[in-house]
Symmetry: C2
């Protein structure tokens, strides 16, 4: 049996796994970074977290053939270079160098949503489709584009920025500086903004005041679900509005690049997929030209927290991806 | 020397060429269909037009190895089936069958904008790019997507519908039935609509009343250019608005699929490319995430009227495309 390591570096936590050659997850380890951003400090925590996963797996470190890692940043995959991670305040960090020095194993670094999409794709029923797009809805909206089994990185390693598709000229300002990005309308950041506007300017009310009093600054997907299940009118409207916008952006994908399948994931979809997916499918069909969405699959993700780290570890295990690994 | 035929079927005219194996256009023939839509009648005109091109080329029909044809419709390329051409009122016509019966030569049928993009791509400086998008701006806006030299057709042969990317939620109604499509804002149809609104509702005036009195129903790209050159304020604003919208849609391409190059063509660009391209480049750069548009080429088309028929003929000449030809 062969073994592989996967690491998912987030803005506030590190998640590591060890898998076997069949993709079984043998162990998981999780460490909070407590918002620490000093690179060397966090790097040591990453090593600790990965070592903990190895220990838990009972696999000898020597038997782990390669390590894949995902970061919340555009990545120059040819150099294992994190380009710019606003959540961590890091810029141009050659992460691969440190890992190869420490573990002396082939290493691969990519963007977290790319790796999550790859993981979901590899262990999903849409693996035989030529062209698929992963869409992950949380506070923001991320994406990943896979063609013929290859992750499409784009000219400057920024492909997959699905959340920054502009769908409303002159619309709501987005954190990226542009206006009318999908994320600013349909991500949790957009949902919160819509709710605030309705409450503050139109005098509407919402159960969120009870369910999640801090909803104006941050809101859990489970709180949204709770309010939706209680038939909170405002939250229901906000959710439908968000799903509809994602459906329009999905139709844009169909019209412009003709994807065959989409994988929907992220916290919001995990909680509210039953609400989102039917709306997304319907809007996508309505807004696609010449019945272009007929037979286009929209499937929910199913790997949960493992997706990103599993995608990264699994990527390094595949024979056809060996040329991407850095040594 | 080997020879190939190419046919570009439009809504009102047929354009045929004969090329040699180097892509030189040896002859051209053009026949107006006079808006006739009866299939058999038009089919005979297509044969006439192609025969005329062959005659003019002085190449013996027997020496023409294959024929490529482009139509204003989604095409099932595996069957040579025109799916739905609103301009011609045709639906589900197996054009390949008639051509193969008539000429007994390998035949290929594809969408006109796909073939135009392919032609421009094959004879352009961006031929070595992995991922390119063709954008053609006329009355409407069409597109073509090429990855690794392959035309991307999408799940239902509708990929490339760039003009129907929705960029303005709840915006101007488009001929396709949706709202806020790029075409409805930035195509000539969108420009006319904008001008009418400004003149009728805001009392603005335009030189177009003199240059092109029919501008409310139809407008030539050259008339737009003339008004622009005369510094007509309203037309200038309409052109800049159109170019800006295309720039935003181009940024969406960069963000979502990371294209490396775009080829801009069509009547509007042929006349006003010097105005459009700088605005498109600037807006695309501003609205792309993490400097994603850096180094992304935006080049003008240069094959003019030949592009579509040349793309179709050239496609059939390539060794790596022989498996697509129908016999």
């Amino acid at each position: 049996m062969k073994y592989y390591g996967g690491i998912d570096l987030g803005g506030t936590k590190i998640y590591s796994i060890v898998i076997d050659e069949k993709g079984n997850v043998l162990s998981r380890a999780k460490i909070k970074t407590g918002g620490k951003k000093d690179f060397k400090e966090v790097l040591n925590k990453i090593f600790d977290c990965f070592n903990e996963a190895v220990e838990k797996s009972s696999v000898n470190l020597n038997d782990i053939l390669s390590i894949g890692m995902a970061v919340p940043s555009a990545v120059d995959i040819t150099r294992g270079l994190l380009k710019h991670a606003p959540n961590l305040d890091w810029e141009n960090v050659e992460i691969a160098k440190y890992f190869i020095e420490k573990y002396q194993k082939p290493f691969y670094l990519d963007n977290d949503v790319n790796m999550g999409t790859f993981g979901e794709y590899c262990f999903s029923k849409v693996i035989n489709y030529q062209s698929i797009y992963g869409i992950f809805v949380g506070t923001g909206i991320g994406g990943g584009y896979i063609v013929n089994g290859e992750i499409v990185h784009g000219k400057n390693f920024t492909a997959g920025e699905f959340g920054h598709m502009i769908i409303e000229l002159g619309g709501q300002k987005c954190n990226c500086g542009n206006k009318g990005c999908l994320e600013a309308i349909a991500g949790k950041v957009g949902i919160i903004h819509y709710l605030k506007r309705q409450v503050d300017k139109k005098g509407k009310s919402t159960e969120l005041d009870n369910i999640s009093p801090d909803w104006r600054t941050t809101i859990g997907s489970s709180a949204l679900k709770k309010a939706y299940n209680r038939k909170d009118k405002l939250v229901t409207k906000a959710i439908h509005r968000s799903a509809n916008a994602i459906g329009i952006a999905a139709a844009n994908l169909v019209n412009v690049i003709g994807v065959e399948a989409m994988i929907l994931g992220g916290g919001v979809i995990e909680e509210l997929g039953d609400v989102y997916l039917p709306i997304i499918r319907k809007t996508m069909a309505e807004c696609s030209i010449a019945d272009g969405a007929a037979g286009v699959e929209v499937v929910p993700s199913h790997l949960g927290d493992d997706a990103v780290a599993l995608g990264a570890a699994w990527f390094t295990s595949l024979e056809e991806k060996q040329s991407y690994l850095l040594k």
